[in-house]
Symmetry: C2
Subunit: 206 residues, 2 copies
């Protein structure tokens, strides 16, 4: 089966690219001294933004936490085990969903005139749509960061309500996760990779 698979299903990208975005990439907690410029983050966004979202809603937002002052404001809302990880990372991103995504839809989804006005009063629906699509985009962002040579350390252990109150009182963004970003030192992790589920374990074929 494995030999047949290798013969019949070559990658459509080169091996080094597949290694970088998936096969050798690791959730990273060990960082080089390299700084992470906004330009590199923008380069990652310029890939990730192209991934599809429902009605091209693009609800994902980034809070880029780089300054020592901002880092400490974020650290205060992280779970204890994640506080040193935020402190050690060159940059930490708070990935968030924007329930006010509809304000851009005249530009983003011109095929459906009036959708902006239709969604305006539907705050709960917009919140659900924002979260749903922003999480898919978080997957694209993690891949895209790797594609521009960065490593990602995503984390959930945090007080999301505290982060939202600290940073998003005006914007109404809703935090989803924190992703530490930088260049990995070595493999980026001291731990062996955990096992994964096989295709047979996750897929049913009809």
């Amino acid at each position: 089966m494995t030999d047949t698979l290798l013969e019949s299903t070559p990658l459509a990208i080169d091996e080094a690219a597949a290694d970088r975005i998936f096969r050798t990439a690791r959730t990273t907690s060990q960082w080089s001294d390299a700084e992470v410029s906004d330009a590199r983050l923008e380069a990652a966004w310029d890939l990730a933004k192209l991934g599809p979202t429902a009605m091209n809603t693009l609800p994902l937002r980034w809070l880029v936490v780089r300054s020592p002052e901002a880092k400490q404001r974020l650290v205060a809302h992280m779970a204890d085990g994640n506080k040193p990880k935020v402190e050690a990372a060159p940059v930490s991103l708070v990935l968030a969903a924007d329930p006010a995504f509809h304000e851009h839809l005249d530009e983003l989804f011109p095929v459906y005139p009036g959708i902006r006005e239709q969604l305006a009063p539907a705050a709960e629906q917009r919140g659900d749509m924002a979260r749903f699509n922003a999480l898919i985009q978080a997957g694209y962002v993690i891949v895209a960061l790797r594609a521009v040579g960065l490593a990602a350390g995503p984390m959930n252990g945090m007080d999301t309500a505290g982060i939202d109150a600290e940073f998003f009182g005006e914007s109404g963004w809703q935090s989803l996760m924190v992703v530490n970003v930088g260049e990995a030192e070595g493999e980026g992790s001291p731990y062996p990779r955990n096992p994964r589920l096989s295709f047979e374990q996750v897929a049913e074929v009809l």
Copy 2:
């Protein structure tokens, strides 16, 4: 700014790979005659499964809908505008979240003994965790399908409760989206790409 960006932020993958996974990839509705074997879907999974999830929970599941009979069962629960899209695609995947992901955690997350038992009674928390992480994985899957030379046409217009009752009565999987899969004919879409939000529009830097 653009010139500086290009000089200072080269990709870490080759240009053709960046084109294939993001820059020229399109949400596809126009398909070649090529069939999509399980081996090719498995090759995509073998990349996508490596993307990180919280506590390595890996809650995403695939229902692979290929036979004409299964296609018609799925079509019955799609929004009218999406029925012909499912019928036209070589394969349609129902991507779903498995709230029973915890049953695999002894294997998947051995660093936390007892987490399986701890989560067993927490059905609502497991449902939230499954949905959150499976959506991130959906992002990985769309990229990975492209990386093995396939094209993806993700869709939300469907009766998720109807699909869950039709297919997931025993497993308890919860459908998230349907992704049509095949090889694209030409660009795969008759429409120009919609605009995207810029980095300045989505990011705040502290």
